[in-house]
């Protein structure tokens, strides 16, 4: 019998389980052939009995304690989970109400949606078309109204400080919007001030492609007329506005006093299209 066989046979007998690689008969045969192994087995079996004897006693009290703790832990975890779920639901509801109910949709969000829609369209359309669609509910004079978009509801928070003074004093109605072929960056639209005592003005919409997205600059063609009509409303510095555009923010700038050239100078590096 090799030492390994002997250990395996002894383990099988002392451990009360068949040897991994031998049948009980084979183990018996191996032990019978080796009397010293039989003697050692007797010692090992005695050792096993002592080890079993040293096993800790059962304890219903201990078991009950552990079970109670587990159940208590389960209840605690359930409460924590329920509380967390409740907080999540409440937070979600609060967020929903905040975004959709308690607080009106922000101008810049509406404007961003309009721009996104405009950018993704495959039809020859301009941003002004999209803005008109948004603002048609405020149509005046039988034409698609541009009053609502410019009214601060959809014109964009970014340009609000520029647009609000105009809108506060006058509303505009889109008369025509000249559609140019796709890819053109210049759209000319004709506006007429709604007030009957003021004649229409011509405006140029200059579109700039900037890293942060399109920047639309509304530039008055008839500068003297516009200046006279709006000079008391004009923001103090359109240069600042133009400079801010260079940072890539999407904005509409209504500029009654700047020429395309001056805007180009301000928006250094941006391609300016005009005609």
């Amino acid at each position: 019998m090799t030492p390994l066989d002997r250990d395996e046979a002894l383990a099988a007998r002392a451990g009360g389980e068949d040897a991994p690689d031998a049948t009980p008969a084979e183990v018996d045969e191996l032990l019978d052939q080796n009397p010293s192994a039989r003697n050692e087995l007797a010692d090992l079996e005695g050792t096993v009995r002592l080890l079993h004897q040293a096993a800790l006693p059962e304890s219903g009290e201990r078991r009950d304690r552990v079970t109670a703790r587990i159940v208590a832990g389960r209840r605690f975890r359930f409460r924590i989970t329920a509380a967390a779920a409740l907080l999540l639901v409440a937070g979600g509801a609060l967020l929903f109400v905040t975004r959709n109910g308690a607080r009106p949709a922000s101008d810049d969000r509406i404007f961003a949606e309009v721009v996104t829609r405009w950018e993704s369209t495959t039809e020859p359309a301009t941003l002004i078309d999209e803005l008109v669609k948004v603002g048609t509910t405020n149509a005046r004079g039988g034409a698609p109204g541009f009053g609502a978009p410019l009214g601060g509801e959809a014109a964009g928070q970014a340009a609000d400080d520029v647009l609000r003074p105009f809108v506060a004093q006058a509303s505009f109605t889109v008369l025509t919007a000249t559609r140019l072929p796709p890819g053109s960056s210049l759209v000319q639209a004709r506006f007429r001030r709604a007030q009957p005592d003021v004649r229409p003005f011509d405006f140029l919409w200059l579109e700039y492609a900037a890293p942060g997205g399109p920047i639309i600059v509304l530039q008055a063609v008839d500068e003297p007329e516009v200046r006279r009509a709006f000079e008391h409303l004009s923001p103090p510095s359109f240069w600042q506005t133009a400079t801010r555009e260079r940072e890539g923010t999407r904005a509409i700038v209504l500029s009654p006093i700047l020429t395309p050239r001056s805007i180009a100078e301000a928006a250094d590096g941006l391609e300016v299209h005009s005609r």
Binding site: L4, D7, E8, L10, A11, A12, A14, G15, E17, A19, P20, D21, E40, D43, L44, G46, T47, V48, L50, L51, H52, Q53, A54, A55, L56, P57, E58, S59, R62, R63, R65, V66, T67, R69, I70, G73, R74
Partner: protein
């Protein structure tokens, strides 16, 4: 039987094995009940899976062994300090009976002898004697073959036998 009832029955049947295994695998640590609770909790959390196993107790013993290993890694220094603290605790006010003395001495001798064994032999003895695992289960837990596990058990017993011989009736 309900799942909770099944679990309670399992705990009742496995408690002695688990506690004895933990007791000797940790060298008689005072936090055996905490470890037993951790094992029970692990079984409880996985009960839907564990209850379908052929031998859930083998799964529990493996969890117990992992906890013992983690505990040893995590708090070797702390455990030594706690053990020293335990040794200095006031002795029982009542002298133990002869039987109790015999049991305590046997237990201490087993702890001492087990501590002197190589890890694989100590684990093989603990898992076989108190955990009731099979050679295959022991081998799986130790990462060795079943016959290697059996040999480690035999060698462990052989090393323990001389120290325990005096306790034989």
């Amino acid at each position: 039987m309900s799942e909770t009832g099944d679990f309670a029955e399992f705990l009742r049947s496995a408690e002695r094995r688990l506690v004895s295994y933990l007791h000797y695998a940790t060298g008689g640590s005072t936090d055996v009940e905490d470890l037993f609770q951790d094992v029970s909790l692990a079984v409880y959390r996985n009960w839907r899976k564990v209850r379908r196993l052929d031998r859930p107790v083998a799964w529990a013993i493996r969890v117990a062994r992992n906890l013992v290993i983690n505990r040893a890694k995590r708090a070797t220094v702390e455990r030594r300090a706690l053990d020293r603290e335990r040794e200095t605790l006031a002795p029982p006010t009542l002298a133990p009976s002869t039987d109790e003395t015999h049991s305590l001495e046997l237990s201490e001798t087993i702890h001492t002898s087990l501590a002197a064994l190589p890890e694989d032999q100590r684990q093989a003895v603990c898992m076989k004697i108190w955990g009731g695992l099979t050679w295959v289960e022991i081998g799986k837990s130790l990462g060795v073959s079943d016959d290697t596990a059996a040999r480690a058990f035999a060698r462990g017993l052989r090393a323990l036998a001389p120290a325990l011989k005096d306790f034989a009736p």
